[in-house]
Symmetry: D2
Subunit: 355 residues, 4 copies
């Protein structure tokens, strides 16, 4: 129980960063070891002692000492002085891309919440148009990265130096599909449809026409159909080709939560029991997945938890299924999963600090 | 311009009934001819002069004379005395089933907003379990019914005695798919997916656990997957078998609006132009359909209008398409469509009173 | 019935501008006379024929010919060529301040939706810090302005050249209080409290931290307490001093609507009847005010109408009252009131095109 | 650290009951001591082993062993067998009224979340119309009750047998006003206004016309003005007469959270510093109150925390103040406060399990 670790967060000003700070402050293994907060805030001078965390996120005030924490100007020296061992990056893709190599050189373990290092196939990465694409350093760094979905890669995560924390949509769809595809049930020739819907926090904190209350409230819109950046994660992690799956995201008029409705054809007729058995086996030992065996999950049940909730319905023939998969995009889809990965790295119970 | 008609509404207390009253009161051809309102209100004695409409729907107050209208106890005599020629039924399925035969006998034209007479195939009607199923009267009445989707059946509607006003989801999906299926583009063997999302008014006015604000707000849930009653309308109107389409509705945390995301495979590769051309031709002469040729429609654009908005995206191969179809479930999905049908019956411009 | 008028809108890109376009396009006296739309759009070249209105506001498409309208680059010559007689300005305060003098010189009647010309007392105007404050031109222009609240100033509006369309909050509070204060009922020494709550459209279309969905949704916040710019309108129009009233606005997590809860002490005990009589008399001949005599109005009843809804409750002593006043901030609080003013100017029925 | 206690909850099916279960399951002093859950569910037979908690509240699944908990049929024997020492009642007022005397007789400590025992003045209790009013047993029970607001009555709570957990609105208003009134600052003759706004969970779980999504969403309504049942708590706890305060609640279109805007006149001009000093002194040693000294609190900051957030603004004269007070009606306004009271009774740190 005595083992602990010093963490740091870069990017605490965003939504995922705030959740990460909240989780780390309340984590039982990190008592008395608040994360070092480092970064920049537009138009603010961090030089003199930093900005109080509660000024950035008033809702965190007085929670487990949050009121004493300050965000300080980032420097590698700061991290070294404070003895940081695990670095969480809740930063834009490009920044993660630029910083991770140095962090690894300095001996830090990195849990990166961006999309910078999730994709091993350069073709899938093309949508990001990273500037360092093709350099030796980028290739060497990518080679060290492990896709941070504990339900699939628990063992590799345990010893990884660089964890690429999955995308929120990707987590939702992969957990629903991987067990069935891996078991060979799915008729890939007939195509999989993943119709996903996400709350607005997934669109980030920048005020834009899209995130304006008047655009998002009382609305639903599809976007990035056929082209969304999380598609590459689906292909690589589920093991399907782009001809075999369509992924289509929508913006919901709620703050948080993702629900994915996934349509598959089975090669052979299945029963409720046969499908349930496959899920149960796959997720045995995965404390953060909840199977709904009698009903379908709803966004509301998973929001503000770190659970991925999965349920399904079969048609009368047993050859078509609709799988419904829900999670909180800021928790199991981002900060909670990052803490779950920390638990795996440190050898702590996987759900520690996440219930 | 002088021709007019006396209408009546049964079921003005519900959401669709309120919209219908609002539309008929503002309809330029019905100036000075407000609808007769007839019905019952739980626990209220209608006998003495009726209940003021504005007491039931305060938002209608003083609109075009609404403040003087009262809902009176229903009787066939009342309709006769007031010279009613067109009867709108915004009543439960069973009530429409029971009343329509007598209304037709009495020479009334009926526009029925319920699901009572929409389905010609008894197998598709089975989900309703109508008590009069199999009787001669029911069969004779059904034989007179026309499915009230003007974009498909304008001619038959014009001379019909009984209009079965379509379901809200069904309108949204049929308008998106019919042109493509009718043109023979769609590879039905690969299956169509219709993932539809509706605002809460679609669930009706009765307070239930499902319509409680705490259940519906900040939530999204799938329901009636593989079994929803509007499926039969899709089969009959689009002309596909139940093996060829999956329809899956969801409850959105907004008051009104439907967005359907529809996934099809084409037999041959298509271009944006070829698909657009098919839609344009099909909807030439249909003033209440708006094609989105440069972007996708959003729920917000169609809500509180009588338009069905349709747009689509093709994948790079031109063989897969995602069609997005939006409408207001209380207008193009119910009361607005009913008025559109009235316009067709009376020979008025189809969009009269609907802009 | 044949008299009509050519209108123009500057500022059609905002929320009030869109509502104004919708109302003018549907106005029965303006059939075949769509408003000229003039303005600028950031980053768009209007030079070649302008931007289609439906590209800016897709929801307006095909409504009464909206699909053919374009927003063109503003010039005085354009207005002259098109024979514009009434100019609606839905522009920022400073722009209205700059343009109105020239518009008047050119013989246009102006209905200005900004706060530029609402206040006659320079002390109340100080919060705007207008650059031309103190110039002769500004004084001469202000002298021609009439505060565009028809319920108070119908006669002056009828012959005015410059209508200063009231603030949304101000309309809500003035209509509730003016009848009681004018009748001498209110004990001003004990102070009036106006606790007002508005939907997000009142905060404008610019994406900001405040209008981000994540800040506004599931929230309520007070702002501008003791300092909001609409306060001056209350003082001047109700006829009270700043010691006698507190006005305190809040941001509601809904798109539109204002509800003001107003607390007064009466000098003498009143009855429901005595207070009702005063309101009835004051608003006789005011078709856009609805008195709620048996219950309190709710935001929902007035949203998407041009009505101001007013109701009240007395305490047991008859000496304290709570008045509840609701309206749609974009209609009776902005664009609808502007059209009401147009009706007054033109001598048309005041509610024409507003029901 | 080893001391613990066996708790029970009656009424776990409601919103406050669910929060209470969640809090007790995660409370560090109650590890391995889940609450006994007892009650009834309409139409369900609890006899055979009870209903799983996760069937009633799916969101609680797998949290700290919640998945093993069942709600069992209530009996005093069950409580005795399971060694229950502290009984939480999240039951209707009448049920609390009926059960508390027996619970006390049986030696249980009771924390009652209803309004049954909050009011000592029979005149204030009249609105509840309790059937046992005037009986000796009721009087004897009432005499043992302590109003469970730790910030005011910490000492008495510590030794109380019966804690009357405060109303949600009352907590919000009392905490904001008591320090200022107790310090003699407020000019009561000029009257206090408390304009309060609450999310829908405050209206309870029963589906009604008022709690229907369509009524509550996109709306704001005032209700119970001059007559709300929490008024009596304000009078007794703040120490003012009904002539000196007006309390006016509103229903907000959000799930949870209360914001009260409170208007006071001071006898003497105050400064920001003088008022802040009074609040600081009053709440020294109160870990669950957060003072906002530079800005005003917003509902969003306090929701899903057990904090009461308080801030204020003075006018230029220093003689009028607007105080804004926010809390989560299900936490600091109900279940969280109940746990805070448990902490006080047991001598644990007051914020234990509440951060």
């Amino acid at each position: 129980m005595t083992k602990t670790v010093q963490t740091a967060i870069v990017g605490v000003t965003g939504y995922a960063g705030a959740e990460l700070a909240r989780l780390l402050l309340a984590h039982p293994r990190l008592e008395g070891k608040p994360p070092v907060l480092a970064g920049r805030v537009e138009g603010k001078d961090l030089a003199r002692g930093g900005i109080p965390l509660v000024e950035i996120h008033p809702q965190l005030g007085d929670n487990n000492g949050a009121s004493k924490l300050k965000m300080q100007p980032f420097s590698w020296e700061l991290l070294a002085e404070r003895g940081v061992e695990v670095l969480f990056l809740a930063t834009p893709h490009e920044q993660s891309r630029a910083w991770v190599p140095e962090a690894l050189q300095r001996g830090l373990k990195v849990i990166d919440l961006s999309g910078a290092w999730r994709l091993t196939n350069p073709a899938n990465r093309a949508v990001y148009a990273f500037e360092d694409e093709g350099t030796e350093q980028a290739a060497a760094t990518q080679a060290q990265a492990v896709y941070g979905l504990p339900e699939l890669h628990r063992k590799q995560i345990a010893t990884a130096k660089l964890i690429a924390n999955p995308g929120c949509y990707a987590t939702s769809v992969i957990l629903a599909l991987k067990p069935l595809v891996a078991a060979g049930l799915v008729d890939l020739d007939r195509g999989i449809i993943a119709d996903a819907k996400s709350g607005v926090s997934g669109a980030g904190k920048a005020p834009t026409a899209k995130t304006h209350f008047m655009s998002a409230a009382e609305n639903l819109s599809a976007y990035g159909v056929f082209t969304h950046r999380h598609t590459g994660e689906l292909l690589e992690q589920i093991g399907v080709s782009s001809d075999e799956i369509v992924f289509s995201p929508h913006l919901l008029p709620i703050p948080r939560g993702i629900l994915s409705t996934i349509y598959v054809h089975f090669k052979q007729a299945q029963t409720r029991e046969s499908v349930t058995a496959i899920y149960r086996e796959f997720f045995a030992g995965s404390p953060m997945v909840r199977l709904y065996e009698k009903s379908l999950p709803q966004i509301q049940y998973s929001v503000r938890t770190n659970y991925a909730d999965i349920g399904f319905e079969l048609d009368a023939s047993g050859k078509r299924a609709i799988i419904v998969s829900c999670l909180d995009n800021l928790l199991k889809g981002a900060a909670g999963q990052a803490v779950q990965n920390l638990n795996v790295i440190e050898g702590w119970p996987e759900a520690e600090g996440l219930r």
